[in-house]
């Protein structure tokens, strides 16, 4: 597929639900070296006003990266050609254990620059009640072939 402005608006099918588990949150918190009890201890999370443990803010991008990867695969771009250029993250509420999140990804911008293509991808994540949870927008640099 040719990567040009005609792709703007191209949208993936809504993803299968991603079920957020306590142990996945703990694993992610450990990987970023963060020992905040709100990520690990349900009692501490409840004391802070949350129904269950919450995820570190950038965990949201783990969820949207799956949909983004699916979109990029639809466009026929090999993952090895991708470089992450920028990332915007807007959290409407914290992601928490027990969430079932569905994501739609769409192409927001396409621009050629110095032999590369800059691909802007926006993701909207909602829960099972269709309430918005987070919105992301990323620029992926698709490096020119050869």
């Amino acid at each position: 597929m040719v990567l040009d402005a005609s792709l703007v608006g191209y949208t993936t099918a809504t993803s299968a639900p991603y079920e957020v588990g306590r142990e996945k949150i703990r694993e992610f918190a450990e990987a970023i070296g963060d020992d905040d009890p709100t990520y690990r201890d349900p009692a501490a999370a409840r004391a802070a006003g949350y129904p269950d443990v919450i995820a570190p803010p950038t965990f949201g991008v783990v969820v949207t990266w799956l949909a983004t990867s699916a979109l990029v695969a639809d466009l026929g771009v090999a993952p090895s050609r991708l470089v992450h250029g920028d990332q915007r993250l807007e959290l409407h509420r914290p992601v928490r254990a027990g969430d079932e999140l569905v994501t739609t990804a769409c192409v927001e911008r396409v621009r050629a620059l110095a032999g590369n293509i800059l691909l802007g991808v926006r993701c909207e994540v909602v829960d099972t009640r269709r309430e918005p949870v987070l919105t992301t927008s990323a620029t992926l640099v698709v490096r020119g072939e050869g």
Binding site: Y39, P57, V62, D86
Partner: protein, 142 residues
């Protein structure tokens, strides 16, 4: 953890610095936890073939580590409502015990009456800035 109140925050206030090492083992752990197994983050041969000097850290790991400074300062990780970064330079991670070191500093850029506080973040590795336009917004109770 102490919950930060809006009244405790002043514009221009410096947060940190916070220094954190990033070693190869941290990259492998982050790859597993995040599901991003791009080999440029763990395989020197692939990284060099892609034109990089060596293995580089996931941009999202750098973003997450810098985010820790803001969430621990706020005292509630759920207070963060938006966070934007540009990955301006790669964090090169050598294959040794020390790895790379990130030096992270925050500065309160704006305090608004609606309770939102904007924090500008600077992240350097090896004396070079690796994130551009890094900004986090937290919502604090008055």
């Amino acid at each position: 953890m102490v919950l930060r109140r809006l009244a405790d925050v002043t514009e221009g206030e410096v947060i940190g610095p916070f220094a954190v090492p990033v070693r190869r083992t941290d990259l492998v752990r982050y790859a597993g936890a995040s599901g991003d197994f791009n080999p440029i983050h763990w395989n020197q041969r692939v990284a060099r073939a892609a034109g990089l000097p060596d293995v580089i850290a996931h941009g999202m790991l750098t973003m997450a580590l810098a985010g820790r400074l803001v969430t621990s300062w706020a005292g509630d990780p759920g207070a963060l409502s938006s966070y934007d970064v540009r990955f301006s330079r790669p964090v090169v991670v050598p294959d040794d015990e020390a790895g790379a070191e990130l030096e992270i500093v925050g500065r309160v850029r704006a305090v608004r009456a609606d309770g939102t506080v904007e924090v500008a973040l600077t992240v350097r590795s090896g004396g070079t800035s690796v994130l551009g336009k890094a900004t986090a917004v937290v919502n604090l109770a008055s």
